[in-house]
């Protein structure tokens, strides 16, 4: 990933130059600078190795063994992985998060993009206020965001029941078996769209406005400017968001976990792969198989991101 050296974006051209020219003072000076560079990154490296490299290696190791009461720990090779990819519980959860990603990611990004374009266009006090409010959910813990929506969905506390009575229709219970998909869709969109909006908005603010004036002189309408100039110029920001959203959504955990107790059994212990892995590890102490499940999920995330980067490689995106 050498791309970091030259970020391919119109915004940062010339502004971001990570490379330091060779140190003055000849060979001895640069040897000293080597040492100093390592000195500055050393604390981070310790944490990185202790809490990322080591757990990852350990999980890889665990996933290759099985532990039986009578047999003790034995090498199992890829048996745990074979079991994972034929385990209906894992596959069921995986299918859910894939399906969910395909709907929620475009939805979030469209809401975020729409809001950002609107805020870039409309100025004034209302727009400033709107920007803060749309971003507000990011400052609210996911646990509490989910809980609040859970309350709003609830027939005993929430307004949905009352509003439905007003229109004389049956209130949909968004945490029921059939509706939980939509219930979660709303929670996730509400929670994250504002964060994505801020990233897109920041990218939009970085565009040189003289481009718009030139386009307007050529007779372009605002919509054309948005679609043909703004969106293409912020592709790197959009790609960044899509990758973040993909990684986050495939690891779906907190929202269903929190809504579980109030959803009357809709959220099963194998609802998403992550919930399944945690259940296996903490309730059944099956650390080996749980590690294999986590790794399998990690593998799926990796493949999904790789596919995404491959598909978007020619569009001037993040990783090209």
């Amino acid at each position: 990933m050498a791309s970091i050296e030259t970020p391919p974006t119109a915004l940062s051209a010339g502004a971001v130059v990570p490379d330091t020219p060779a140190a003055p003072g000849g060979r001895r000076g640069s040897a000293r600078r080597h040492w100093v560079g390592w000195f500055f990154i050393f604390p981070f490296l310790v944490v990185f190795v202790a809490f990322l490299v080591a757990p990852l290696a350990y999980a890889a190791y665990l996933s290759l063994y099985t532990k039986g009461l009578a047999t003790g720990t034995t090498f199992a090779g890829i048996d745990n992985y074979k079991r994972a990819f034929t385990d209906p519980s894992f596959l069921h959860g995986l299918w859910f998060v894939l399906k969910f990603s395909l709907v929620v990611i475009p939805l979030q990004v469209i809401v975020a993009l729409f809001a950002a374009l609107l805020l870039d266009e409309v100025v004034g006090r209302l727009a400033r206020f709107a920007r803060l409010i749309i971003f507000l959910p990011y400052a609210i813990p996911v646990v509490l965001g989910s809980l609040m929506w859970g309350f709003l969905y609830s027939p005993s506390f929430g307004p949905i029941e009352q509003i439905s009575t007003l229109f004389n229709v049956q209130a949909p219970f968004l945490l029921s078996q059939g509706n939980i998909f939509y219930g979660l869709l709303n929670v996730v969109t509400w929670q994250w769209a504002g964060y994505y909006m801020i990233i897109i908005y920041a990218a939009l603010q970085g565009i040189d406005t003289s481009i718009y004036e030139a386009a307007r002189t050529d007779g372009a309408t605002s919509r054309q400017i948005s679609l043909r100039i703004k969106i293409p110029l912020i592709t790197p920001a959009l790609a960044l968001i899509l990758v973040f959203a993909l990684i986050g959504t495939l690891q779906f955990f907190v929202e269903p976990k929190v809504l579980g107790p109030i959803a009357n059994g809709t959220i099963t212990p194998d609802f998403t792969p992550n919930i399944y892995a945690v259940t296996l590890a903490l309730q059944y102490a099956q650390f080996n198989y749980a590690s294999a499940i986590s790794f399998s999920l990690g593998f799926v995330v990796f493949v999904a991101v790789a596919i995404f980067m491959f598909v978007t490689r020619k569009r001037g995106s993040l990783f090209t």
Partner: protein, 288 residues
């Protein structure tokens, strides 16, 4: 940029759409505010969930919240503050040092290490939690504050953000000038580089404090003693209790609602007051 009359109607539509967005994003918070003023009776009585009624019981609820079960909510609040500050500040110090090191020193192995850091952003965080749990168990740190604080120190994204920020905000000439004047590397860092990186540092601090404050998965897995829980895990414990014994004893739902409100207030205030910093910081992140 003067507004031409022809553009005004379109802006009215724009403003109406903005109002609709504001309503959508504000509804849960508004509901929480309103519900926190109701007693159990008002909460369950059905109609009017989005408006005040049945008297103002906010302070009563607040009192009950801090009194319930020997004040366990206060303990959780304290734990959240402890984890967020130690984890957040520690993470910021580590990330700022590393970002500066990556940006301003061309040492052997830099690109490989940085590529590993960048690649690790893609590693599903949750796949680390289970092996970390087993490791923490093996070294006897499980169910202690360290099991939450130490893993919170890691943030590859913060390092990436600080590298970009340091590269963009510190001219090499300034560093070289300081060195020629005889300042040591640490002195150069503290006196020259750090002041220039301040907005970036504040952004990373805010983001990492928020990340630790909001964290749920890690403390949920690492802690089993409820005295060590942060707010997020504690409130979830209450919801599980409240939904399993419907109506039995004191209604926990009021406490959950007021507790949620109390838990979100500090961060909302932090975000509102430090806006100009994090907006600039996130802008840098999106530059890539």
């Amino acid at each position: 940029m003067s507004e031409t009359p022809r553009r005004i109607p379109r802006h009215i539509w724009g403003k109406l759409l903005l109002l609709a967005l504001i309503c959508y994003f504000l509804v849960p918070v508004w509901w929480l505010l309103v519900a926190s003023t109701k007693n159990a009776e008002g909460l369950f009585s059905g109609s009017g969930a989005l408006w005040f009624k049945g008297g103002f019981h906010f302070f009563e609820n607040l009192h009950d919240l801090f009194a319930y079960n020997n004040g366990e909510f206060l303990t959780w609040l304290g734990n959240s503050v402890l984890y967020a500050l130690t984890g957040g500040i520690g993470c910021t110090i580590i990330s700022v040092l590393a970002g500066y090191g990556f940006a301003k020193f061309k040492f052997r192995g830099r690109n490989i290490v940085f590529a590993a850091v960048l690649g690790s952003v893609v590693v599903p965080l949750t796949s680390l939690v289970i092996p970390t749990f087993v490791m923490m168990t093996n070294i006897g740190l499980i169910d202690t504050i360290w099991a939450v604080i130490l893993p919170s120190l890691l943030s590859p994204f913060a390092v990436y953000l600080m590298r970009v920020y340091a590269a963009a905000s510190i001219p090499d000439e300034l560093l070289d000038a300081a060195r020629i004047d005889g300042a040591g590397e640490l002195r150069t860092f503290f006196k020259v580089a750090l002041p220039l990186m301040r907005p970036g540092v504040i952004t990373v601090l805010l983001l990492s404090v928020v990340a630790t404050w909001n964290n749920f998965f890690l403390p949920l897995v690492m802690l089993s003693t409820s005295k060590l829980y942060p707010l997020t895990v504690g409130i979830t414990l209450w919801t599980t209790l409240a939904s399993s014994n419907n109506g039995g004893g004191q209604s926990l739902w009021n406490l959950i609602i007021v507790g949620s409100l109390v838990s979100i207030i500090p961060l909302v205030i932090a975000f509102l007051t430090l806006q100009k910093y994090w907006r600039g910081g996130l802008a840098v992140g999106s530059l890539k």
